[in-house]
């Protein structure tokens, strides 16, 4: 199967389709390492402040909507399953099912973003957007609570940006698969998008307990 697909897409710098496939996969993993360091820095900042200001962070995190966060966790975990199925059917060469599960994954990703948008809107209504209009009771904790929400928006915003980029990339993939473009004849592009998507999912699996589930 690989040989048949490789014939169409082997780039000049590679000797064999295997070498090309392995290079793309290693490249994607290396890119994900940079992403881990990218998020790792923000996680480190958050953890330092959370340890230093545990009590106020606890009070501030009570303003977060745990049911919505939990729902979003379920949505993203399910989307990882459908993405795994997309890759599975890509490897099997079943273009129809591949496209179907890719679209389901996209729909779940959009659901996540919509729910996140509602959460942000609630925060706006409650005056929890950092800045001059930030309100928090009791007032003596306002400064540190604002720090918590600064980090909350920075971290979930960065994650949501990654989800949005994922939706965009999946949309392009879906079009390419639908028109049977030669560049998506083999499973490697889908596998790479899949790796990225699982990474985005894993980031959320860390974000959710870190932000929403602070123990007393």
């Amino acid at each position: 199967m690989v040989q048949e697909q490789g014939r169409q897409t082997l780039s000049i710098q590679f000797d064999t389709p295997e070498q090309q496939t392995e290079s793309y996969i290693v490249g994607m993993w290396t890119f994900l390492v940079t992403e881990i360091m990218f998020f790792g820095a923000v996680f480190a900042i958050y953890l330092v402040y959370r340890v230093a200001n545990h009590d106020v962070f606890y009070l501030a995190h009570l303003k977060l909507d745990i049911p919505l966060g939990f729902f979003n966790t379920l949505v993203l975990l399910t989307s990882s399953l459908t993405m795994a199925l997309t890759v599975h059917f890509a490897q099997r060469g079943d273009a129809r099912k591949q496209l179907l599960f890719l679209l389901v994954t996209m729909a779940l990703a959009c659901t996540f973003l919509v729910v996140k948008g509602f959460e942000y809107h609630h925060k706006y209504v409650e005056g929890l957007i950092p800045g001059p209009n930030f309100r928090f009771e009791p007032v003596e904790h306002l400064r540190v609570a604002q720090l918590f929400f600064s980090l909350y928006f920075a971290m979930t915003g960065l994650h949501a940006l990654h989800v949005a980029i994922g939706v965009l990339v999946m949309a392009i993939m879906a079009v390419l698969i639908a028109i049977r473009h030669p560049s998506v004849q083999d499973f490697v592009p889908v596998e790479m998008v899949g790796l990225y998507w699982h990474f985005v999912d894993i980031v959320w699996i860390f974000l959710f307990p870190l932000l929403y589930l602070i123990p007393r």
Binding site: D15, Q19, S23, A44
Partner: protein, 556 residues
């Protein structure tokens, strides 16, 4: 590895090479050939080097007298900040990897290109976008925070173009990351048949270690600088103490990248030096494995020493002790390299060509720069020397005496491969000597100034220090002359230099087995490697180095 060639390769014969393969401007701007992208980078970083050099000249001119008579304190702050930003982010970090590395990594490992040629081209565009946003910020008012961007000054108080500069650096970071990923994948997956890890040239080992640092460090500084920009624009309180943040946390994250960034600049230069010393001593590199692993050791330990920039902050004294000890530890792999280069030269047939002059200059200057680094890593000494000209002299010995000497040595050594022409040897040696003399005259007095207590980033000073400052400034005149000369003779050599031939130095290494300049896809046939690198003693390389004097057999 199988040798199956699944697609017919383009064969260019009869003087066709990567330079004359296509002559349109578009063919250069849309090229995916790693060699052409290296040339694009060469032109771009040279541009930024001369901007950074001009700013350095302004600094030294101002320091000629004890009063601030050329510019105001505000403008002086801008000039030294922009000198640092341009030289570090737009010249030194991309210098050897993006120019020599881009050109040589595929050639040295017997590949037709990097693993991701389009990503490689994208990295140049990203670099140029970042570079021009940075330039724009400078032209429209500049930035005055120091290249370190410490908050809360950078996030709250500075009225200069901090946000725009931070955005420029954030963008430029991604060009480094793209290059790093490309090198890692290429070195892992694209080596020629028979080219095992311990047959790799040390240049490749150095670039591998550098790429690992780039991939692990750059994202951290990128997000940190972005958060400062966000804090500045949206008044969030992430690092500003008035808004609940901790400015020391910024320093931790900044130096987590920016100390390893020093190794991003010096490790590739060390890789260059290993090649030069071996070639011009006609000997194997002494203790190849140790030199190879010392690069990896520097990359690993280099990530654990950032706290030595913060000995005079509230950082715990116990943390300081650990950081101090770990910083001493970096001296071990560095010394391994220096001793092994020296041992390589011992009883070698040393040829004092221009690249070798740079290499020997590198060793001497790096020893001074490295050992003064050990002084600064000592807790008690650092309290006295922190933020003085001693620090300035120390890191210029590493970055100019180390990285730029390595870069210039490598540029001369591989110039015949890149252009097919020899540079003029006599004047090149003269330029190397002028740069060496000018460099020492500029920076050695700064060690003394720093020891006497002259703080960095000030342009007023007591009159008794003027003599040393005048020495330093007069060194800059020599240094400027030394940098200008190669610009002219290298351009001159493009048309008038002697034809180099494939292997003018009689060097080992796959890059010398193909034509100069190489064809677009580097090799007529994929080379097969059958022996160790630097096998100079296996073969009696003659004075005239004929084609095929290369020491590896080609599977023809």
């Amino acid at each position: 590895m199988s040798m199956t060639i699944t697609q017919p390769r383009e064969m260019e014969v009869g003087g066709r090479n990567y330079l004359n393969a296509d002559n349109t401007v578009l063919s250069w701007l849309l090229t995916t050939d790693h060699k052409r992208i290296a040339i694009l980078y060469l032109v771009s970083i040279t541009f930024f080097f001369f901007i950074g050099g001009l700013l350095a000249a302004l600094i030294r001119l101002e320091l000629l007298t004890p009063q601030g008579d050329l510019m105001t304190s505000e403008n002086y702050n801008r000039v030294f900040t922009m000198h640092g930003v341009v030289m570090i982010f737009f010249f030194l970090i991309p210098s050897i990897p993006a120019v020599l590395g881009n050109f040589l990594v595929p050639l040295m490992i017997g590949a037709r290109d990097l693993a991701f040629p389009r990503l490689n081209l994208a990295s140049w565009y990203i670099y140029m976008i970042g570079g021009f946003i940075g330039l724009w910020a400078m032209v429209t008012g500049g930035v005055d925070t120091g290249w370190t961007f410490y908050p809360p000054y950078s996030s709250t108080f500075s009225t200069s173009h901090v946000t725009l500069t931070l955005v420029a650096l954030f963008i430029t970071g991604f060009s480094s990351i793209a290059t790093g990923i490309n090198f890692i994948v290429t070195i892992h997956k694209m080596r020629a048949p028979g080219l095992t890890w311990f047959r790799l040239p040390l240049f490749i080992w150095a670039h591998y270690a550098t790429s690992v640092i780039i991939v692990l460090g750059t994202p951290v500084v990128a997000i940190t600088l972005l958060l400062v920009a966000v804090e500045r624009v949206f008044k969030l309180g992430i690092f500003d103490p008035a808004l609940g943040g901790d400015p020391i946390l910024f320093q931790h994250l900044f130096w987590f990248y920016s100390h390893p960034a020093v190794y991003i600049m010096i490790l590739p230069a060390m890789g260059v030096i290993s090649e030069l010393i071996s070639c011009f001593s006609r000997k194997r590199v002494f203790g190849y494995h140790f030199v190879a692993f010392s690069s990896v050791a520097i990359a690993v330990v280099g990530f654990l020493v950032w706290g030595h920039h913060m000995f005079t902050t509230i950082q715990s004294v116990y943390a300081g002790m650990v950081f101090s000890l770990l910083s001493f530890l970096v001296a071990v792999p560095s010394a391994v390299k220096v001793f092994n280069w020296t041992a390589t030269m011992y009883k070698g047939h040393i040829e004092l060509r221009a690249p070798m002059l740079y290499a020997m200059g590198f060793i001497g200057l790096f020893v001074i720069g490295g050992l003064t680094g050990v002084f600064l890593a000592s807790l008690a000494t650092d309290v006295h020397l922190q933020d003085t000209y001693f620090v300035v002299a120390h890191f210029h010995y590493i970055m100019v005496g180390g990285a730029i000497f390595g870069y210039l040595g490598g540029l001369h050594f591989w110039w015949p491969k890149m252009t097919g022409r020899m540079y003029p040897e006599g004047i090149a040696k003269l330029a190397a000597l002028i740069i060496f003399a000018g460099f020492n005259l500029t920076f050695f007095p700064q060690f003394v100034l720093g020891y006497l207590g002259m703080p960095r980033r000030y342009h007023w000073y007591p009159e008794e220090w003027q003599f040393l400052h005048v020495m330093s400034t007069s060194g800059v005149v020599l240094l400027a002359l030394g940098y200008a000369i190669p610009l002219f003779y290298l351009l001159w050599s493009l048309r008038n230099g002697a034809i180099a031939g494939p292997n003018p130095w009689g060097a080992t290494g796959l890059e010398w087995q193909t034509a100069s300049p190489p064809i677009t896809h580097n090799f007529e046939q994929t080379p097969v490697v059958t022996e160790e690198p630097y096998a100079y003693d296996n073969h009696h390389v003659q004075e005239e180095t004929a084609i095929g004097a290369g020491t590896r057999q080609t599977d023809a």
